[in-house]
Amino acid sequence: MTQAVEAIKLHDTNRYPPGDLAIWIFILAELSVFAAFFGAYAFTRMNNVALFNEFQHHLDRESALINTLALITSSYFVVRAVAAIKENHHQLCFRWLIAAMGMGAVFLVVKVGEYAHHFGQGINLSTNTFYMFYLSLTIFHFMHVIMGMVILSAVALKARRGGYSAAEHTGVETGASYWHMVDLVWLILFPLVYVMR
């Protein structure tokens, strides 16, 4: 009887994504907005290919590489944090989350450096269509990274206090899911804006 109940529970947990279901509704809404943004970029480029190719050349691709590696590494650290709490190691979970936020901070610092360079040259949203898309897309994503850092901070503080366990760690999974979404969006944004021509 107990085995049957456990089997039903396992079947049920295999049907829903990790974390709070509400965050997944939020994630899908956010992903839809970014999908529309990416589509708008691609179709606007269709009528301005020369302009987009010329100004794409002025972007700092090395910074974009560093940022991509930072976000991927950060996402991996979050995976480690989730794995740690599933083993009931809340201090280890806390440390992996701090490491993930460190990588997030690297992303923010590099991006601020890029913006300082652009704004220093007098580039803004109305410079041309390419920069309008580049700045609005990346700043919109930048704000999501900040939001993700705030969420991870809250989760890390609770983890440090022993607020999660192997039995109950929905909060860790919820924060992790949001952070992976931030990474996922950048994985499309990076080639689209910095590489594809």
Binding site: H11, T13, N14, R15, Y16, P17, P18, G19, D20, L21, W24, L28, L31, S32, F34, A35, F38, G39, A42, F43, R45, M46, N47, V49, N53, H57, R61, A64, L65, T68, L69, I72, T73, S75, Y76, V78, V79, R80, A83, K86, A166, A167, E168, H169, T170, E173, S177, H180, M181, D183, L184, L187, I188, F190, P191, L192, Y194, V195, M196, R197
Partner: protein, 91 residues
């Protein structure tokens, strides 16, 4: 809602190494300033693979049954199709 299927740390570590490797491939193509439709779609294909890996392994959707297994994959198809169409039309 805890104790979700976890696809394992080792597969996730391999996924991480794959993601980093594919990122360098994309960067290399960018540095070589290689243009053209086939290269652009190749780069987009790499991005789609990376997105799928993040969804399946890092987000843990690959171990699910039913509808929730697919949202990230479906999402990748939407912008992927839009971008592909726009690049084909502009080539």
């Amino acid at each position: 809602m805890s104790n979700k299927p976890f696809l394992g740390l080792r597969p996730c570590t391999w996924v991480y190494i794959t993601l980093v490797s594919l990122t360098f491939v994309t960067f290399y193509i960018g540095e070589k300033e290689i243009g053209g439709l086939s290269i652009a779609l190749f780069v987009l294909g790499i991005a789609m693979i990376k997105g799928h890996l993040v969804g399946a392994y890092f987000m843990g959707l690959g171990g699910l049954r039913g509808l929730w297994r697919w949202p990230v994959s479906v999402w990748l198809i939407v912008p992927g199709s839009l971008i592909t169409t726009a690049f084909i039309l502009s080539s």
